[in-house]
């Protein structure tokens, strides 16, 4: 892993849409907030963009809101909502 990278894990429908379960992205040393992180992610994996409002983001195992930050070395999980019946 390069010093400024984060590991991104994609689950369920997010994994299917992106065609991969894991990818790596570079972020600045002081990190970016979750809103900006999603913007960057959607251009690395454009197939995720339609799920923009539904995806939940966990950083290092904790769910976040848009103001939490993603910093180098973090593990980010991208989790789509569980579909209802």
């Amino acid at each position: 892993m390069k010093p400024n990278e984060v590991d991104v894990l994609l689950f369920a429908a997010a994994r299917d849409a992106a065609g991969t379960g894991a990818l790596r992205m570079e972020v600045p040393e002081r990190g970016v907030d979750v809103t900006a992180f999603l913007g960057l992610l959607f251009h690395v994996a454009p197939a995720l963009a339609p799920y923009a409002r539904a995806l939940r983001i966990a950083v290092n195992g904790c769910y976040t809101d848009g103001h939490d930050r993603v910093r180098p070395g973090d593990e980010v999980a991208v989790i789509p909502p569980v579909a209802g019946g």
């Binding site: 972020v27 990190g31 970016v32 913007g39």
Partner: protein
Amino acid sequence: MNAKLSPALPSPTEAWGWMASELVRLPAEPCSLERAQGRVLSETLYARVSLPRFAHSAVDGYALAAGTGSSEFVVAGEVRAGAASVTPLKPGCAARIFTGAPLPAGADAVVMQEHVVRAADRVHLSHPPSVGQHVRRAGEDLALGDTVIERGTRLKPTHLALCRELELAALSVTRRPRVVVLTTGDELRAPGAHGAPGTRIDTNGPLIADLALQHGATVVARVALPDSRGTTELVLDQALREADVVFTIGGVSVGDHDHVRPAAESIGVRFTFAGVELKPGKPLSFGVRGGARLLALPGNPLSAWVTFMRFGVPLLRALLGQQPDLTRVGARLAEPILRRAGRTELVPARLVLNEDGALVWPIAARSSGSVVAVSRADALIEVSPETNALDAGATVSVLRCHEAE
């Protein structure tokens, strides 16, 4: 931590991330091949025929069945390029064949004419042929269902040649972003206009319009605004109705005559960020109103160019459905860069690729208003905020700005 570092301003990456989350690809429209050069493909093309369409000879020679082990064949018939029908080969026979001609049924190899001895109606082979030699198989280049061109590709003449080979008459491309460019400042005048003392030629407006065109946009209007709040509001409001993207240049700092941001807010623009931790280009701001985006660039030519390259080009590319980021390469620094840690810095530079790798020259631009530096630069060296001075020979990250791809 550097005391000058303002925690309120986003880093360039964070600012771009916020922008990116507001950008979706524009709708597609059909386009004939004649008008498709430079347009961006909106859906991936898959092969509906295979290429080559039929097995054919790569050389002038004799088509025959190589698997028999025989070294002598009776010459029966001739196949030329463009032949409409081809007689199947009989056992023990070879057909005279020319480059591009369809391979007759029963043949699986072509022997070059230089490698046979012909006597009357017979050919004798000097070397045993191998199956498939000098034959271009059907589907060898492109099989049915293969990806031909990925969506998001900016179409070049070579792509269009391939489309013609596949007999495609029209393509689905992303609509061009409609752009309005607004320059601000009472001091600006058009080239050739009588120049009062203290005025300067508006180079920024045409520069940004030309760059937008080069990157696939349509410039629907370019207007020079006076330093007046009321006029700025009126024109900006109209621009946001007509355009996908409005680029303003200047008037975005906090001076008494910097009207862009308050005017935009008063007509309903929601700013995603106002200011970036970037040198040059700190005042850069981005806002959205409905389906229109406003990127407010700083006023001096160098800052305007740098911020357009770092944010404006990726913005247009994202709307076009292209991978938005400029190409990034590692390069060795040819001359030192003097600076103190603080903001991310984008240094205009000239990039040279030779057999020793990539070498990059920072362009000295002490005055950030220098259009001279802009005219010489084809790249930006990105220096991270925590980096102090860089020595010659250091490896740096370089964004390529030269071409629209």
